[in-house]
């Protein structure tokens, strides 16, 4: 029997064939088919709606968050608030000290993480031989990225405060935050360096450049936008980080503006934390916290826009 005998040419033929085998055929029962198809299409449409709703949910929350904080800070956020000193009286309180404290912190975090992070990335991408040691460092960095920030606070407390005797100074806080954000900048720099094509390196070698000269004059300039983007992301993480600083034991009310690396300090997120805690006693502190949050979010938004700008403007694809 050739296969042509098995070909079905009409619906009635199918029905007959099925009748002889079993009950009524489901295959080409048009009504049932259409009903089922309709159900599937409706399910598809409903699912699409639900899925898009949950995406919109995130958007709505973001809107509510910004709106609430905007409303609560309205009237409190003015020049006097930005340039005034801390005070226990909500009407007089300002966050000048906290802003300067955050700037000082970043003055420690930026050079330390940039130096350590970029050289670690250069080592891993350019010098390290494929092997156990390299993969050990890589696993180690990815695990460090998953360690909760409070733990870094405990590390800072034990090492920088207790062992090195740095107290609750800017240096102790800055170094703690640097270690916390180091994995971010290492991974970003690694990706940036890896994206530099090999023919650029080969060109430099062909002209007689040594390895370090090649890295310094070819690889680093080419990967700079990626490294800077990573750096900005790391800083924006560090600037909003609260837990490690609180664990280090930053004093609650600091009236003096920090003057050196060894000064006691307060920073924007810490100020938000203490004011939020104390809203039970003084409800106006909630407004102060909201106003400080606005300042922090504006700074973060600015930095992220710069990062996106750098990424779009300077990043070259080879």
């Amino acid at each position: 029997m050739g296969y042509q005998d098995q070909l079905i040419t009409s619906e009635s033929e199918v029905n007959e064939k099925f009748k002889s085998i079993k009950k009524s055929p489901v295959l080409l029962n048009k009504e049932a088919w259409n009903k089922r198809m309709e159900k599937r299409i409706i399910m598809d449409k409903v699912a699409r709606k639900i899925f898009s709703l949950s995406t919109v949910f995130a958007l709505v929350i973001l809107g509510i968050l910004f709106y609430r904080i905007g409303v609560q800070s309205a009237g409190w956020l003015n020049l006097k608030f930005l340039t005034g000193n801390l005070s226990i009286f909500p009407e007089k309180a300002g966050i000048y000290g906290a802003i300067i404290g955050s700037v000082w912190l970043m003055a420690v975090v930026i050079p330390v993480t940039l130096l350590l992070g970029v050289s670690t990335a250069i080592y891993l991408e350019e010098y390290a031989k494929e092997g156990k040691f390299q993969s050990f460092i890589k696993t180690n960095i990815s695990n460090l990225a998953g360690v909760p920030s409070v733990i870094f606070g405990l590390l800072g407390l034990a090492v920088f405060r207790r062992l090195f005797g740095l107290g609750s100074s800017i240096l102790a806080g800055g170094l703690t935050l640097s270690l916390l954000v180091l994995p971010i900048i290492v991974v970003a720099s690694q990706e940036a360096i890896r994206a530099v094509p090999n023919f650029l390196r080969d060109g430099a070698y062909a002209m007689g450049a040594t390895k370090w000269t090649t890295i310094r004059t070819v690889v680093l300039p080419a990967s700079l936008p990626g490294i800077l983007t990573g750096c900005i992301l790391a800083i924006s993480r560090a600037i909003g980080e609260t837990a490690p600083l609180v664990v280090l034991g930053i004093p609650t009310l600091i009236l003096a503006i920090p003057e050196s690396l060894m000064s006691d300090f307060t920073a924007l997120p810490i100020q938000i934390y203490y004011w939020t805690l104390d809203t039970v006693l003084t409800p106006e502190y909630a407004n102060l916290a909201a106003a400080t949050i606005v300042v922090l979010l504006v700074v973060l938004l600015l930095m992220n826009s710069i990062a996106i700008f750098i990424r779009n403007k300077f990043q070259r694809r080879y």
């Binding site: 949950s54 904080i69 460092i137």
Partner: protein, 307 residues
């Protein structure tokens, strides 16, 4: 005729020159900074173990695994179970929010949304992920808790429910973007095969894409749990510092992270059992998150389907 140039001499000269010294030193400098990251890990593990050891040598294990936590009491007791309970409950609430919303958002972004819409929605998700946790803490305390109080009148000003929900919201972008990465790395040919058989988008998503990307999706869930366990400021502000052992999520309860924050900002002097208890709690917290991260790595390596 000029003097003949001896190439060998030039090479020898170059090898001895200053340039060559930097050439030899730089790799060592880089190796040194690469080892800082290892030193950090060693530092974390050492401080946690040393100071926890002092704690465990003072406090009997039976007391540690009890439900009574009263570090400042005249008759102090250091039971860690209330903290573990608080941590697990708040993380569970967070997962109840983050996993369904995050996964469906990932399915939408990866399978349903048009390219244009995807390009506008993803940056918004990134903004949500970039907001500092202290801001979420403030949001939980000043907005979500009062809102929930209208629905559940018995809710306390400090409770586990509100920070749990807000923590879930904070984690949504993480689950969504990691799952979306896993799902969009499923090759299109597989989708097209299913479409050719007459499947709808929903069927393709559930029967082809999700099974193929399951390792990445599960890994994102595990990482999200680890993130929730380690989250500090939201629970510190929203859930308070009650050290009761309770399963009632409308009450205040303390997590491990919140305990650490409360105790250092208080004046637990160096040398007291209370001070060392921080490190014991820190050690357990560290182990919890480390195990979670290792599980996530294992899942995504072991069960990854290569195409």
């Amino acid at each position: 005729m000029d003097k003949a140039v001896n190439v060998r001499d030039i090479i020898k000269k170059n090898i001895k020159s200053k340039k060559n010294v930097t050439e030899k030193i730089m790799p060592k400098v880089f190796l040194l900074s690469a080892s800082i990251s290892i030193l950090t890990t060693v530092g974390i593990v050492m401080t946690l173990i040393f100071d926890s050891y002092r704690f465990f040598s003072k406090v009997p294990l039976r007391e540690v695994f009890s439900t009574r936590l009263a570090p400042l009491n005249a008759n102090p007791s250091f039971g860690i179970l209330p903290l573990i309970n608080g941590t697990i409950l708040t993380s569970l609430i967070a997962m109840c929010v983050a996993i369904p919303v995050g996964l469906t958002a990932a399915m939408y972004l990866s399978e349903f949304a048009s390219e244009k819409r995807r390009k506008t929605l993803k940056p918004i998700m990134e903004v949500l992920a970039g907001i500092p946790t202290i801001v979420y803490g403030f949001f939980a305390y000043s907005f979500v808790t009062p809102l929930l109080m209208r629905i559940i009148p018995s809710l306390g000003a400090k409770n586990a429910l509100s920070p749990g929900i807000v923590m879930g919201i904070m984690i949504i972008p993480m689950v969504a973007s990691l799952s979306e990465d896993a799902m969009s790395s499923v090759p299109n040919s597989m989708r097209e095969g299913a479409f050719a058989l007459g499947a709808t988008k929903l069927e393709v998503t559930f029967k082809v894409v999700i099974p193929a990307a399951i390792s990445g999706i599960v890994a994102s869930f595990v990482l999200a749990i680890s993130r929730a366990i380690g989250e500090t400021m939201i629970v510190t502000i929203g859930s308070g510092s009650s050290k009761n052992f309770t399963f009632d999520i409308t009450e205040s309860m303390q997590t491990m992270t919140a305990y650490i924050v409360e105790f250092t900002s208080g004046d637990a002097g160096i040398g007291t059992t209370g001070y060392y208890s921080l490190y014991a709690v820190g050690l357990i917290l560290f182990l919890f998150t480390l195990v979670m991260n290792l599980i996530a790595q294992y899942i995504s390596h072991k069960y990854r389907e290569e195409y």
